[in-house]
């Protein structure tokens, strides 16, 4: 079975990101970069599928050349080879990412693609869906279970107010939610082995993809500072405030 999985290098979600002086972008100097949390579930599921069915796991990332670290981490967990599409992430929108991924997927022709449901930096939650649409493949998003048998994937999905089970014919796109599995740690032997696994570097040109962003970021601003709270004297005045000032009761 040929399994393709995607990883994105993101700024550590716990780090404090600041705006630059003219509010045109974010300052990430000195902040930690990590593998997008949801991608870890996708990678883990890909490796589990390989362990169950045999085959190969290809790890794909789009971003600057530092992204080999996240690919290498996924290879250390058990992936077999990597593909890095180098692109300037500040000039690329979800459609561009989806176009590039779709091009890689067409080249690789995997049986299944496992992705994170969204990336924790921009939280667009679009790429998996767009890739499926672009390729005309079935999709199962927000997966918390995933079984593969006889050319079909049965996926439990987390949806508002409950869960849904879907069956999708392979090849298909599955996007991972955080209850899908517990991602393994890369072991030192795994890390040493990953050094010898190949990572192919490609450009959008190599893939014949022309990037035409449809989403252009005009600027950033911080949410307005919250006004200070007020301490009231007793319960009666609290109820009065809730009813008449905040109008929530």
């Amino acid at each position: 079975m040929k399994i393709l999985t995607t990883v994105k290098r993101v700024v550590d979600p716990d780090a404090k990101v600041r705006l630059n002086s003219d509010n045109s972008g974010l300052v990430t100097e000195g902040l930690e970069a990590k593998m997008n949390a949801f991608d870890q579930y996708g990678v883990e599921e890909a490796i589990k599928l390989k362990e169950a069915h045999g085959g190969e796991v290809i790890v794909v990332s789009i971003g600057d050349s530092a992204g080999t670290k996240e690919i290498r981490t996924a290879l250390a967990m058990g992936g077999d080879r990597g593909v890095l599409v180098t692109a300037d992430m500040s000039e690329i929108d979800p459609k561009g990412v989806a176009d590039l991924l779709a091009a890689v997927i067409e080249r690789e022709a995997p049986d299944i693609v496992l992705m994170g449901k969204l990336s924790v930096d921009s939280e667009n939650n679009q790429v998996g869906q767009r890739v499926a649409a672009k390729l005309g493949w079935p999709q199962a998003t927000f997966a918390f279970t995933c079984e593969v048998a006889d050319g079909w994937a049965t996926v439990g999905r987390e949806v508002d107010g409950g869960t849904a089970n879907v069956r999708v014919k392979l090849p298909a796109i599955v996007t991972a939610d955080l209850r899908l599995n517990e991602p393994r740690y890369a072991s030192l032997p795994g890390i040493m082995k990953a050094k010898r696994k190949p990572i192919e570097e490609l450009t959008p040109d190599d893939l014949g993809v022309e990037l035409e962003p449809q989403l252009i970021i005009q600027g950033y601003s911080l949410p307005p500072a919250r006004a200070a709270g007020e301490i009231v004297d007793d319960v009666d005045s609290l109820i009065d405030r809730l009813q008449n000032t905040a109008k929530v009761l």
Binding site: A76, S187, L188
Partner: protein, 614 residues
């Protein structure tokens, strides 16, 4: 969660900016290794420690160990953790890959030791003793025994112990009375005797425990020259490693301790039924020699306990002082002025700064020692190897004793910073103080380290090693004497260094005139030496940081003090480099002069401690 267990930025600074870890990758052993590999290893190390070890720490401390029907039970949660730790390859990170080690540079193993001990100090005794014992077997056992047991130890299948101490033989290890007698027609020996205080001496984590036991063969001379080293398994095994019946090793008790409660500290009786069998490691009568060859790295790891637990306590205190509100600012006259976070109070800041300077100083000292340790084995040039080895020999007693005493001091200050809450178990900081205290006692008490420094290390190559150290620090100080921003700090370290050098030369005379009085100076001398070496490394850190900070200021267009301060507030990299400079300044002004003071006290030659009738 558990964010306080590691300061990744400072670890990276020490590895890649203060030192050049990547220079080691030019040595054949590490060919092909890259910064990216090391970064992935660092990230995985932190993840494992934060997510798998740190959550066990407090509960394991409360649970402790128990002895039931001759078997010790340590917290059950350690079982999975030990399996994970072994499977991850973390037990023998810098050891021989042919035997299941990972063959990585020593400083990375030191890094993992810092993070993992901080996460769960009592857990780390099991892998720590195992790798120490395994390394002895690796270096000195015959090939057959080595190839059979070392891979099982390095992979986490079996654990190991170091059995030196007996009731009458603590510091005086030469008084070991356990005996070994060859069993005719076999390669085995019958072992008989009692050991106490044996860390990781028994547990339910793995199927077998291998004890490395110091014992005497019949007719060998008394003292350290007559001691041999034996491997004594809990369960016997055959030539394929298959386990057989239980060996005649009895767990007669476990200690109830001040700290490291989840590390089992066992009394062992060998040969109660006269049927305890073991194997000789290496040659007869070489036991102590073998132990001493492994001593430097074990003592540096001991220093790491001071750093790791002190560092965790400091970072908890830092978090706490940023939250706890008490009283208005002291300089505020207005009675209605608001109360402030206690980190605003000058005395709190001074205590935090002490903790910080000590912690970063310990880290600089220990990681530099780790670089020396690695260089002494892997550098292609034998002269460089020898120099690195000499430097490590000289600095090891300081790394061990200074860092464990100062590590303890930091945990104590961190409790103080918490006020009454620091004394309460729920706040987690008191455990660090209980857990770290033992590090100044075992692996040669700190008093013995001081004697080692003064009596042996200062005399290495007839004092030539000390002179080499002196030359090295002088070169650094002279090169930076005119430093634009750090000249005052350089001068403070220079004064401290001169005091220690003068003291060192005086000892020779003192020793001749009144040897016992000279010995009184050993501990203050080690302490003073530590202040000089650490002061130098912190100022060196500032020298490294200054141009990097200036570059950020230039890029951000910060030309006046106010703008620069804003950059330091906003930009974490600027804040980091600025803090390096402030920390060096604080150490040079407040702590380095301690060396001058201590040297003065030694010079008095006061012998009242000897003359008094207690």
């Amino acid at each position: 969660m558990a964010d306080h267990i590691v300061n990744k930025r400072d670890i990276e600074f020490v590895l890649y900016e203060l030192n050049d870890l990547l220079a080691l990758t030019k040595h054949e052993k590490y060919e092909g290794m890259t910064r990216e590999d090391f970064d992935i290893i660092t990230d995985e190390a932190i993840k494992l420690c934060k997510e798998k070890l740190a959550p066990l720490n407090q509960a394991a401390d409360a649970e402790g160990c128990r002895l039931e029907d001759g078997q010790v039970y340590v917290p059950e949660s350690f079982k999975q953790a030990y399996a994970d730790y072994g499977a991850g390859g973390w037990i023998a990170m810098s050891h021989n890959p042919d035997l299941g080690g990972m063959g990585l540079p020593v400083p990375l193993a030191i890094m993992m030791a810092e993070i993992s001990i901080g996460a769960c100090g009592s857990f780390m005794f099991y892998p720590g003793l195992t790798v120490a014992a395994g390394h002895l077997v690796e270096n000195f056992a015959n090939a057959e025994l080595r190839d059979l047991v070392v891979p099982k130890m390095y992979s986490g299948e079996w654990t190991g112990t170091m059995c030196l101490t007996e009731p009458q033989a603590g510091t005086a290890v030469g008084d070991v009375a356990t005996t070994a007698v060859a069993i005719e027609g076999t390669n085995e020996y019958k072992i008989k005797g009692n050991k106490i205080f044996i860390s990781a001496g028994d547990h339910q984590l793995t199927d077998n425990v291998l004890h490395l036991v110091l014992a005497r063969l019949p007719g060998d001379p008394p003292g350290t020259k007559g001691i041999s080293l034996f491997l004594v398994p809990k369960y016997r095994f055959d030539g394929t490693g298959k386990l057989g019946e239980r060996n005649d090793v009895t767990i007669t008790g476990i200690e109830h301790k001040m700290g490291i409660n989840a590390s089992s500290t066992c009394s062992l009786s060998f040969g109660d039924q006269d049927d305890c069998r073991g194997y000789l490691i290496g040659k007869p009568r070489k036991g102590i020699v073998y132990m001493f060859q492994m001593m430097n790295e074990a003592r540096i790891t001991c220093g790491i306990q001071g750093l790791a637990l002190g560092g965790c306590a400091y970072r908890l205190a830092l978090e706490y002082t940023k939250e706890r509100v008490q009283g208005p600012k002291m300089t505020e006259r207005d009675p209605s002025a608001p109360n402030v976070k206690i980190i605003e109070h000058p005395d709190v800041r001074r205590n935090l700064m002490l903790c910080r300077a000590y912690t970063e100083g310990m880290r600089a000292l220990l990681y530099r020692a780790a670089i020396h340790a690695d260089t002494s084995h892997t550098h292609p040039d034998p002269e460089v190897r020898e120099r690195a080895n000499d430097m490590m020999e000289l600095l090891t007693p300081i790394a061990k004793a200074w860092c464990t005493d100062i590590g303890f001091k930091v945990t104590e200050l961190a409790i103080q910073l918490h006020g009454g809450y620091g004394y309460i178990k729920e706040y987690a900081v008191e455990q660090y103080m209980r857990d770290v205290k033992i590090a100044s006692i075992y692996e040669g008490t700190n008093g013995i380290q001081a004697l080692d420094l003064l009596g042996r290390k200062m005399r290495l190559k007839k004092g030539g090693v000390f002179l080499m150290w002196l030359q090295d620090i002088n070169e650094f100080l002279q090169a930076n004497a005119e430093h634009a921003t750090l000249a005052a700090e350089i001068s403070a370290i220079d004064k401290a260094k001169n005091a220690v050098a003068e003291c060192a030369f005086n000892f020779t005379m003192m020793g001749k005139a009144d040897p016992e009085a000279a010995i009184l100076g050993a501990t203050p001398f080690l302490e003073a030496f530590g202040y000089v070496e650490v002061g130098r490394l912190l100022v060196e850190s500032a020298v490294v940081a200054q141009p990097k900070l200036d570059a950020i200021f230039a890029r951000e267009g910060a030309t006046d003090d106010e703008a620069r301060r804003q950059v330091v507030i906003d930009n974490p990299e600027a804040r980091f480099y600025d803090s390096k400079i402030k920390t060096a300044r604080f150490f040079a002004a407040n702590l380095a002069p301690k060396a001058v003071f201590l040297a003065k006290t030694i010079k008095t030659g006061d012998r009242s401690a000897l003359d008094i009738v207690f």
